[in-house]
Amino acid sequence: MNKMLGNKKAIAAFTLPVLFVFSLIVFFPIIQTIQKSFYDWDGLTKPIFSGFKNYAELLRDPLFYQASKNGVLFAIVLVIFQIGISTLLALALMNPAIPFRRFFRNAYFIPAVLSVTVACQLFSSIYNPEFGMINKLFETFGLDWQQDWLSDTRCSLLAVAFVSVWHGMGYQFSIIFAGLKSVPDQYQEAAMIDGANRFQINTKVLIPLIKDTYRICLIMAITGGINAYSYMQILTKGGPGTSSHTLTYMTFRSAFTIGEYGYGCAVAAMLILQCLTATFLINKFMRSESITY
């Protein structure tokens, strides 16, 4: 069997097309971007080599640290809430005694079907300090505390992050649910026979068995958080001030708004580095021997 599965020709035939397309369209431009980060360039005229100047400036730039911090914060919010809530919902829906399961499953995916523009438009209204749903809800409960969600430097990023949580939850939910469903029943049955209660079955049997699924979800959530862009672009334009900037937004700002394309490439290179590190770490800690059923 090893001979069959080690068939070099087959392997080449299977993998080369993908590698070719990917390298040409994704990898090659990334290399060009990293290369340009060593130049002083406005995107259109001739680039001038400037060595590590862009990186030195980057490390001194307080915006870089703020954007990185925001990215990490965003990622943490996504992991805790998106994956957390999706897991709870998926586990709850495993119970066949619940009516209308098909309906719930489809419902949870609907937000993912809508485009980012709609999601942001909706939440823009919800967060509105004077007529928005959230503050109105507080009023009806008699709470005096009204928050200016998107216009407060302290919480603008979190407010944007929650929009992303809501929007992407459908994806995480369907992946986790599909993963849970594909675990054969005998594992649960065995645990039940051994006397485990529902909670123990969930936490000690089901979740560990879909570790690989979680690996995918974590990678999606963390990298999605670090390079978030479209949500803050539409909701707050990075504001107020720069409090909801992320690295991608900073890249865009440097490259297109200010016209310092080389600097923008340096930011992009740091962004890629952060994401790669995160992916590497996740893979290292979560990729144990393949779990087969």
């Binding site: 994704v26 119970n95 523009t117 029943d185 890629i272």
Partner: protein
């Protein structure tokens, strides 16, 4: 008898409330979208943002469809999405199989290499990419969008598919080889059908991502006759103010295919899951 034992669980009312709450949170926005496609600008922002439209403005739909070539945008989006997704599957399935089941040294490195595609934000490489597209002489054709879309969505599709392949038992291939089938046949006739849920997942995700994609489409397809739906939508953002009602109508029209596709595909996922469970059991 065994099945009954595990499945006889009580209805947990708290759980049901929670589930209903989340489904409201999830579905209300679709309703919100429908409502706002039938409201005036004032109503949307100020007088009645959350409720049922007071005087449905079907005119918004008329404007959306007449003023711009919505059908053309729709057609472009469909063609591009269809071809991209098909190509993604054709390329990703063999690749994922090789990554997860075949034996070769560089497996993990290559898989890590591909994961670069998961998180590259498009803004970062848009300029080198557009120069590349121009040099390949495919500017302003469908290919200018299809090929980049394939490349960007390969990483996720491969990740989902390879994870699914990994979870299949080794015995399958052993028995196939013992029966005398070669690698290609095993792959085509045995392995692929077993990962149908993952294929559905990959199809759904790739379609959503490509259908709603804006940045690349706005820069690489500048000819009017090639524009896709998301790009067409921005036509409603005017010089000084925006016709939100008509944009809403357009968004509704744009969202309908994705909803239909999801409803159809999720059916497949459900069926395939129960089938494969029986096979494995």
């Amino acid at each position: 008898m065994k099945k009954l034992f595990i499945f006889r669980r009580k209805k947990n009312y708290f759980t049901i409330v929670l589930l209903i709450l989340f489904s409201v949170i999830s579905i209300y926005p679709l309703l919100y979208l429908l409502f706002y496609s039938l409201k005036t600008n004032d109503e949307i922002f100020y007088t009645n943002p959350f409720g049922i439209p007071l005087a449905p403005q079907f005119d918004n739909y008329r404007r959306a469809v007449q003023l711009f070539d919505i059908v053309g945008f729709f057609k472009n989006s469909m063609v591009i999405t269809l071809f991209s997704v098909m190509a993604i599957l054709i390329l990703a399935l063999p690749f994922s199989y090789a990554i997860s089941r075949m034996h070769w040294k560089l497996k993990n490195t290559v898989s890590f290499y591909l994961s670069l595609g998961l998180f590259i934000p498009i803004q970062v490489i848009i300029v080198p990419l557009s120069i590349l597209v121009k040099n390949m002489h495919i500017s302003n054709t469908y290919l200018a969008l299809i090929i980049p879309y394939i490349a960007f969505n390969l990483a996720f599709a491969c990740m989902v598919l390879s994870s699914s392949f990994s979870s299949l038992p080794q015995e399958l291939e052993e028995s196939a080889f013992i029966d005398g089938s070669g690698v290609f046949r095993t792959f085509l006739e045995i392995m692929i059908p077993l990962v149908k849920p993952a294929i559905s997942t990959a199809i759904i995700f790739a379609t959503m991502s490509i259908w709603n994609e804006y940045t690349l489409a706005s820069i690489l397809a500048t000819d009017q006759k090639l524009k896709t739906l998301p790009v067409g939508l921005t036509s409603f953002v005017g010089e000084h103010s925006t016709d939100w009602g008509a944009m809403g109508a357009c968004l509704v029209i744009a969202s309908i295919p994705t909803v239909i596709l999801y409803l159809c595909c999720s059916e497949q996922v459900e069926k395939a899951l129960t089938v494969s469970g029986a096979v494995k059991g």
